[in-house]
Amino acid sequence: MKKIEIKISGKPITARAGETIVQALWSAEMAESVQTGCAGGVCGACTVTVRYADGKPGGTELACMKPVEEGMEVFPCPVESDKAVEPVANADALTLQSVFPTVNRCTKCGSCTTACPMSIPVMDSVMRMQQGNFNEVAEDFTTCIHCGLCRFVCEDKVKPHNMGLWIRRSLGKNQDELKITIEDSNQVEKEWQYLLIDEKQERFQRAKKFRESGSL
């Protein structure tokens, strides 16, 4: 396998082409230099910034998902989580502004969208937040892993992902109660008695039959 050189906070290490930054750090006994959680791209722990030798524009990445490249320089960039904000049923743009007053400070610089490792159109979504298009915002933030990079890069202290989650949870509060059907309790008890017979083999056979018939 091809060997390549990368740097972590200035320290050179050798990596194998095709592996991720995290895999390279593990082999180099430098696992502690970048925090990890899932190593699968969904927890947002392993945020880093990278620079490339060939002058290609660098940027923010998830170290557990980003394959190493020759001459790449990696800098850990852990993002602290921000204070949580209680969601509110029937929220609208005004409610959002009252709990996240910085929502209107967005200067449309686009940095958040560039920074997002999940390709979420963050800036556009901040516009939708200002307009109160919450269903669309909820859809935008479906895949948000809360890495916090969008907040980290925002010079105007807009907190896109905190607002995204707040909007999703607030919409969640508007959901109708589940209709849970009340069943005939006699029938229910009979079925349980049938399925819960003590003898293990018989119980297994009954469960198999029940799967097919669906009732007694």
């Binding site: 593990w26 895949t143 948000c144 589940l178 029940f210 799967r211």
Partner: protein, 552 residues
């Protein structure tokens, strides 16, 4: 994927035929043969252990047996002075721990939640496919029960399983109230999908990010609660009162590099699974913290472990590109129509077979030379993802599985057009700490919930039953701890010292981190250092500001 061109052509050519004549489900005899000869659980890579409550009885995978017999990393001189006094200490910040914390809210109890990584960095956040609940018109908790019992080879603890199935709808209601948004049909009802072994569509999802959706909502709610959150605090050992009641835990604060003694009236163990032990060198789908720590801690207190000879190897772990090796490709992909196909383009088994059988069948296929070999020498079979749009309409895959697309995109693989290569990955710890229907372990003062426990799923868990498990039993553990809260007891290391007398291995456990990461907690060294430099070490403990990446 030039290197696989020939095989891919065969897969494309056979698609039309396979679509109309899919392979049948294996019958009982065939399933049994596959399991016996090819499933990693059945290959004899296990042994009994010589110490503790399971000494000489059931078998454990070799890697785990070593850990159960190993010594504690805690220095013998460790002081038992409490640093924190709390009512309930929850260990583990995944779904089970978070559900327990939320259920203790408003009861007037002081609660601490300690977790090794950050809150939510867990197996829970990684769950993709969904969560089961008997919500369909034609479904009942009894059908759910029957499916899970058959799936678990009849070995499930039936009292636990009944509770699980009966609590499904209520848990979905609870999650919805907290603000979880599950996918819905155009008429507003929940979209329910089938999964391997379900007789009725029963799986709710949020795209292929179901665990992410649940975990980020729970995490937010826990942050808003009165729970005291101790992030990057790994539980190293449990305290007992000298009379076999658990009374607290020793935590290792990873940021400060120091040990913290917690005195608690109840301890709830929610440390999850052990996929990172990478049994038999399998890759794993699990998060970095899944190293079976809870099993080791409970075992030293005298808790018996159950069914740990049984692990779930998920049939569809990615096996190419290598950077993604072991990462999960959700079963839901199979339930919406992607077939499992060998190098010759043959649909060698129906993909809705039980997970253990399907995993065995894939291993068989590759062993017998009908697999695809990657440029790195790994073997796998195809998961024919382009079939999904063929059957369910263009755009279905991208819409329902954005996570899959997103992950492969980087490697210029588009699952909409090209099948992906899969091989079984170590996924789920079927067994664990034995608990009763109240989540009480066999030792007073200690409760357990979630993947760390064993019995509920028998010898094979169905998709979507684990997310339900952790929420149902996380909440139950909290309720039971509250109802049976012992008085505060003294902190002693009596059980540990007793265990140490018989200790067999010069190794240390828990291991806390995957071996491959080479991360370690050096507690022995730490203890002596702490004594010398006791006073001014607080500088490093201040707030944790992200450093300017370009400053150096």
């Amino acid at each position: 994927m030039e290197w696989a061109k020939e095989s891919l052509e065969k897969v494309e050519r056979s698609r039309e035929t396979r679509l109309h004549q899919p392979a049948p489900l294996p019958n009982e005899k065939e399933s049994e043969n596959i399991l016996k000869n090819f499933h990693p659980d059945y290959l004899g890579k296990e042994r009994t252990v010589g110490v503790g409550p399971n000494a000489g009885d059931q078998k454990f995978p070799l890697e785990l047996a070593d850990l159960l017999e190993a010594d504690s990393p805690l220095p013998a001189s460790h002081s038992t002075e409490p640093d924190i006094e709390t009512d309930v200490l929850i260990i583990g910040g995944g779904g089970a721990g978070a559900a327990a914390a939320l259920s203790l809210e408003g009861l007037g109890l002081k609660t601490h939640l300690a977790t090794k990584l950050r809150l939510g960095d867990s197996n829970t956040v990684m769950a993709e496919g969904g969560i089961q609940a008997a919500l369909a018109e034609n479904d009942t908790p009894r059908k759910h029960f029957a499916d899970a019992l058959v799936g678990g080879h009849g070995e499930n603890k039936t009292d636990l399983l009944r509770i699980l199935c009966e609590s499904g709808p209520e848990v979905i209601q609870w999650l919805s109230k907290l603000g979880c948004l599950f996918d819905r049909n155009s008429d507003g009802t929940f979209r329910l999908r089938g999964g391997g072994g379900t007789s009725v569509p029963r799986v709710l999802a949020c795209r292929d990010y179901t665990g992410l959706e649940i975990m980020r909502v729970l995490k937010d709610a826990v942050r808003l609660s009165s729970t005291n959150i101790l992030e990057e605090h790994a539980a190293v050992e449990l305290f007992d009162d000298g009379n076999s009641t658990v009374t607290g835990a020793v935590l290792y604060d990873r940021k400060k590099g120091s040990l913290v003694n917690v005195s608690a009236r109840a301890v709830i163990l929610a440390t999850g699974g052990s996929g990172q032990l990478r049994l038999q060198d399998f890759p794993t789908s699990n998060h970095v913290g899944a190293t079976g720590d809870g099993l080791v801690l409970a075992y030293r207190q005298g808790c018996r472990l159950k069914f740990l000879d049984s692990y779930q190897y998920h049939p569809s772990g990615a096996c190419y590109p290598e950077a993604l090796a072991g990462q999960l490709v959700t079963e839901a992909i199979r339930s919406v129509g992607a077939q499992v196909v060998n190098a010759e383009g043959v649909h060698f088994i129906n993909e809705m077979a039980y997970r253990d059988v399907l995993a065995g069948a894939i291993i068989k296929e590759t062993r017998e030379g009908r697999g695809v070999t990657t440029p790195n020498g790994k073997m796998g079979v195809w998961l024919d993802t382009p079939m999904i749009d063929m059957q369910k309409g263009e755009g279905t895959l991208a819409k329902q599985f954005p996570g899959l697309i997103h992950r492969f995109e980087r490697y210029r693989i588009d699952p909409v057009k090209t099948p992906i290569l899969i091989y079984p990955t170590l996924h789920y710890q079927n067994g664990g700490v034995s608990v009763d229907a109240q989540c009480r372990t066999e030792v007073n003062g200690l409760w357990a919930c979630g993947e760390v426990t064993g019995g509920l799923h028998g010898k094979n868990r169905l998709m979507g039953n684990s997310l339900l498990d952790i929420l149902v039993f996380g909440r139950r553990a909290a309720q039971s701890a509250k109802d049976h809260l012992p008085e505060r007891g003294p902190l002693t290391l009596t059980n540990l010292n007793q265990f140490r007398k018989n200790q067999l291995k010069p190794k240390y456990s828990p291991v806390f981190f995957p071996e491959a990461s080479k991360m370690k907690l050096e507690l022995g060294a730490l203890e002596s250092e702490v004594k010398i430099t006791e006073s001014p070490s607080s500088e490093q403990t201040g707030s944790f500001e992200p450093p300017d990446p370009f400053a150096r």
